[in-house]
């Protein structure tokens, strides 16, 4: 089984410096691309590879790139941005790539920037990834030193500048238009679309924003071709995927596996449930995905199959809900996060999420009535798709609506027993 993205990642030694990375075949794709391939060739290859964006939305990368103006009349500077603001609760896959092999990301960015003929590239990194910040800064400098970045790359006519930007902490910065506002020094509120960033992005110029894992796939696609990339997968969506598991399992962690690996197999990699615990449910791809349960264990973890099961692949990092953890408390924790991180730009999200959070807290404390359950149900509609400016609140409603579906008996026990039936939670 091939693991192109993580093959050279080992935490028993430091991440690869430039020369070591080159010895493993690193920057061969940049040399190949700049000498033999046109930007359009790479765009076509990526489109044919069926690569879908790994940040959570799962949109075709080739299609996204295809909307950027090309040719002599295209406005400049054009920008390429790596979204390394990994902040979806329960998600820790990009950290592995950033700390484990920073040159792979930089090479993927150079190739992607070449494909869209960008002039300037940014890595938007969250503040908490201190180790990654140091490694990326070193690696960018190494890449400049070797002529992979800067003016006239490898002696050709194309030039690219790359900068590392560390954020100051807001979940909203992960939303691509809010990220652009943050990079422009503004509040990270989302922008209206259209115009899409491909036409009017950073400082009003054509911009592509891609997730770290997405960009790390590009060198391998350029080296080995679209058919090879598709062959890595078990389904119609090409490539491998970085999957993760956290919660009360024996070996929480992150693994690169073929796209379409089932939930059951992934939980097996995590060593199964910790002694004495039973699986009650799971979020397949971060905090803003619907719960799945034991009946879904054979669902392949690809975008189409997880959607068919009633959830979303999201970031592909599973959070396990065990039978000793209160589902109401679990969902309250999620809604606390979303209410706090709402940017306040649109009223339903700004006002609705704190209302949901307070309602869940009163249920958890045994102080609620059946009307409160109806209130939550109402919010799952009123904060759902089409009612808010961006996807934050609809995402927040996904675990809530599915919790109300799968764990209703737990909600009802809180009402009838007038307390949380699960012991051991401390400060509520």
């Amino acid at each position: 089984m091939e693991r192109p993205l993580t093959k050279h990642i080992s935490f028993r030694r430091p991440s690869l410096a430039l020369e070591e990375y080159e010895r493993t075949g690193g920057y061969a794709a940049v040399r190949k691309a700049l000498k033999q391939l046109t930007p359009e060739d790479i765009q076509q290859q990526v489109l044919a590879s069926t690569l879908k964006g790994r940040g959570g939305a799962g949109f075709s990368t080739g299609t996204k790139w295809g909307l950027i103006p090309m040719g002599a009349d295209a406005p400049h500077p054009k920008y390429l941005i790596a979204n390394a603001d990994e902040m979806e609760p329960g998600t820790f896959k990009d950290r592995l790539l950033l700390e484990g092999n920073p040159h792979q990301l930089i090479e993927g960015m150079i190739l992607s920037a070449y494909a869209i003929q960008a002039d300037i590239a940014y890595i938007f990194l969250r503040w908490a990834y201190r180790k990654a910040a140091v490694l990326l800064q070193q690696s960018i400098e190494e890449a400049y030193g070797a002529g992979y970045l800067g003016k006239h790359i490898l002696g050709g006519s194309w030039s690219l500048e790359m900068h590392l930007h560390t954020g100051v902490g807001r979940y909203m910065c992960g939303e691509e238009t809010a990220l652009l506002n943050a990079l422009e020094g503004k509040r990270a509120t989302p922008r209206a679309k259209p115009p899409f960033p491909q036409l009017s992005g950073l400082f009003g110029k054509p911009t592509i924003v891609n997730n770290v894992e997405t960009l790390c796939c590009i060198p391998h696609i350029v080296n080995n071709g679209a058919d090879w990339f598709k062959s890595l997968s078990r389904c119609a969506e090409g490539g491998t995927k970085l999957y993760g598991v956290s919660g009360k399992v024996n070996h929480p962690g992150c693994w690169e596996l073929p796209m379409g690996t089932t939930i059951r197999e992934l939980l097996h990699h995590a060593g199964g449930m910790k002694n004495g615990h039973r699986l009650k449910g799971l979020l397949p791809g971060g905090a803003s995905t619907d719960f799945l349960t034991e009946q879904h264990l054979d669902t392949p973890l690809d975008y189409t199959s997880v959607a068919a099961a009633g959830s979303r692949l999201g970031t592909g990092t599973i959070i396990v809900l065990d039978d000793a953890t209160c589902p109401v408390g679990f969902v309250h924790n999620l809604q606390h996060f979303f209410a706090q991180e709402s940017c306040g730009w649109c009223t339903p999200c700004r006002e609705g999420l704190p209302w949901v959070e307070k309602t869940l807290l009163s249920i958890e404390r045994g102080e609620a009535t059946p009307e409160d359950i109806e209130l939550l149900r109402m919010h799952t509609h009123m904060l759902g798709p089409g009612h808010t400016f961006c996807a934050l609140a609809p995402g927040a409603m996904e675990p809530l609506q599915s919790a109300l579906h799968y764990f209703m008996d737990d909600f009802e026990r809180h009402l009838t027993e007038k307390k949380c039936p699960y012991a051991n939670h401390l400060h509520r």
Binding site: M87, P89, G167, G185, S246
Partner: protein
């Protein structure tokens, strides 16, 4: 009043962006590096340098979690309170820290040594519960380890 070093650093940030306003977050980060928090006077000074109104600067300063508009202790403890750390028991760490330092989230202890803050998912969910003290990351933390951990910070 900003120091010469601060003004030089902010002017450098201005030189990197297409227009002055775009440097506001970086300018506030410069202030944080030098003073650890951003006072009203600093907001006004930054506004003057960037040709913005103080309210515009504050709208950005007050938006981001890591731009502190109140004084903080010599060290900041960022305790992850997101979902994986919730499942793995961050609340026990919170309770232990409250007892040791006699402060709750958002507060600074009496000798100005530590400020305790909740933090959104630190991205080490496979080693939950996790916390950061300043720029140091601690994973798989147990309440019994906290006392020794804090000793390193004076």
């Amino acid at each position: 009043m900003l120091s010469d070093a601060e003004i030089t650093a902010i002017n450098h940030e201005i030189s990197l962006v297409p227009h002055k306003k775009a440097a506001v977050i970086e300018a506030l980060k410069v202030i944080l590096q030098h003073r650890h928090w951003v006072s009203d006077e600093c907001v006004e000074s930054v506004a003057e340098l960037l040709e913005m109104s103080p309210a515009e600067v504050d709208s950005v300063a007050s938006f981001y979690n890591l731009i502190f508009r109140k004084p903080v202790g010599r060290h900041v403890i960022h305790l992850c309170d997101s979902i994986s750390c919730y499942v793995m028991g961050y609340e026990e760490l919170y309770q232990a820290l409250q007892q040791m330092l006699d402060i709750r989230f958002g507060e600074t202890d009496t000798d100005g040594r530590f400020t305790l803050l909740p933090n959104c998912c630190l991205g080490c969910c496979d080693h939950a519960p996790a916390l950061m003290i300043d720029e140091d990351l601690y994973q798989d933390v147990k309440p019994g380890q906290l006392k020794r951990m804090l000793k390193k910070y004076s």
